[in-house]
């Protein structure tokens, strides 16, 4: 009994809450439309006021900018005119200065050239005077040297004459001495050549004897070879087998005696 009433109470409470919710939603929709209908004109008015204010501020800013630009252009044109005037005045001053410097330079150059010409003329005159002086001195020196040469030539001629006389006198003595020395040298040379020839002949005789001895030895050796070969042939052909056996036995005896066997 008790549980059945609880279920029914729960269902009733739920239905009641659903109805209340529907009512709340309906009220919300109704009051929402009313508020929107009241605030829209104010909002539109505020927006239009703002647009007007903004256009006014922008217009003032444009006007201000335009005036600033005009002032700047005027200032620039004035400054440009001033600078152009200054440049023209400076250019004129520069041209005047250049012209002045050129005139000074030409004047200084003319003065230098005149001075140089004057100095050159003076130098040439001094050089000509000096050259004339030197030429005169050289001529005088040549004259002195020529005179000395002539004196020397005479002295040399005299000395040559004296020397020739001396040579003639001493040449005879020298020739005699030379002839004597040649004679002595010839005698010594003949004696030396004789000794040398004797030595050569002695050596040649020794060489000939040695050569003869050597050839004789070679000949003897060759003859001994021939005798040996001939003996071999004779031994090979002429001996009987028993004689060969005897020679073999003698050879073995010799080997035994020599310690070979």
């Amino acid at each position: 009994m008790l549980s059945l009433s609880s279920v029914e109470l729960l269902v009733a409470v739920s239905i009641g809450m659903a109805v209340a919710l529907v009512v709340v939603l309906a009220l919300q929709v109704l009051f929402g439309f009313r508020v929107q209908r009241l605030t829209a004109p104010m909002y539109e008015f505020a927006v239009s006021q703002s647009h007007a204010e903004a256009e006014r501020i922008i217009g003032e800013a444009r006007e201000k900018a335009r005036s600033i630009l005009a002032e700047a252009e005027a200032s620039a044109a004035q400054m440009l005119a001033e600078r152009r005037t200054d440049a023209e005045s400076h250019s004129k001053a520069f041209a005047d200065a250049i012209q002045r410097i050129e005139a000074d330079a030409q004047r200084a150059l003319a003065q230098g050239a005149a001075e140089a010409q004057r100095m050159q003329n003076a130098s040439l005159a001094a050089l000509a005077a000096e050259a004339q002086k030197r030429d005169q001195e050289i001529q005088e020196h040549i004259g002195r040297v020529t005179a000395e040469f002539e004196g020397l030539d005479r002295t040399v001629t005299q000395a040559a004459t004296q020397l020739q006389a001396s040579f003639d006198e001493k040449g005879t003595v020298a020739a005699k001495l030379f002839e004597q020395s040649l004679k002595d040298a010839a005698e010594q040379g003949i004696a030396h050549i004789g000794q040398r020839l004797d030595a050569l002949v002695t050596q040649a005789e020794k060489d000939i004897e040695a050569y003869r001895e050597k050839r004789a030895r070679l000949l003897d050796e060759h003859m001994a070879d021939l005798v040996g070969e001939a003996t071999k042939v004779v031994l090979q052909k002429a001996l009987r087998p028993d004689e060969h056996a005897e020679l073999v036995e003698k050879a073995l005896v010799e080997a035994r005696a020599s310690g070979l066997l």
């Binding site: 003996t231 087998p241 073999v248 010799e254 080997a255 066997l261």
Partner: protein, 175 residues
């Protein structure tokens, strides 16, 4: 091979060639004795003579006599069963003995070989055996190899030894 057998063989065999040749003679003789005659031979000398007369190979008479002279020391130990082994051992006897290899200019013949072998057995070793070879350049003497040493005692050796005397002798004819 026992000492009595080798002694009997060496008594009349002086060179390796003789040994080989006589071993072959022995083989043929014993083949003749064992397989071509009836029964055991009683008189080997007579049988050997008969063999030598009938031998178609013309065996040397000296070899026949030498083999016959080997006597019982050799023959008694050989029968038909060990014939070939015995002959082979006999040939190998030269490998057991000291060998003097002798180079001579001509063939010396049996007496010459015997003479030299006798000298060698008297002066070198009683059981030495010769291996004789022919070398014409060994004329006037011989060349030999013994105990791994070779020597030349031919005419060249003597001629070199007496060269000075020979030359002096010839020079004496000049004077």
């Amino acid at each position: 091979m026992d000492a009595s057998k080798s002694s009997a063989v060496l008594k009349n065999t002086f060179s390796v060639a003789d040994l080989y040749r006589r071993a072959d003679v022995l083989k043929r003789f014993l083949e003749f004795a064992f397989f071509k005659t009836a029964g055991e031979p009683h008189d080997r000398t007579a049988l050997m003579r008969s063999f030598c007369e009938q031998d178609p190979t013309g065996t040397d008479r000296l070899d026949c006599e030498a083999v016959a002279a080997w006597g019982p020391a050799v023959f008694d130990a050989i029968n038909p069963d060990n014939l070939y082994d015995s002959v082979t051992r006999l040939k190998r006897l030269s490998e057991e003995l000291p060998v003097l290899t002798l180079y001579v200019p001509v063939r010396l013949g049996a007496p010459g070989v015997e003479r030299i072998a006798t000298w060698c057995r008297t002066n070198l070793s009683p059981d030495v055996i010769l291996d004789v070879r022919i070398d014409p350049s060994s004329v006037g003497g011989c060349k030999f190899a013994y105990n791994n040493a070779f020597h030349d005692v031919s005419f060249a050796y003597f001629e070199k030894k007496a060269r000075g005397a020979l030359v002096e002798r010839m020079r004496s004819y000049d004077a």
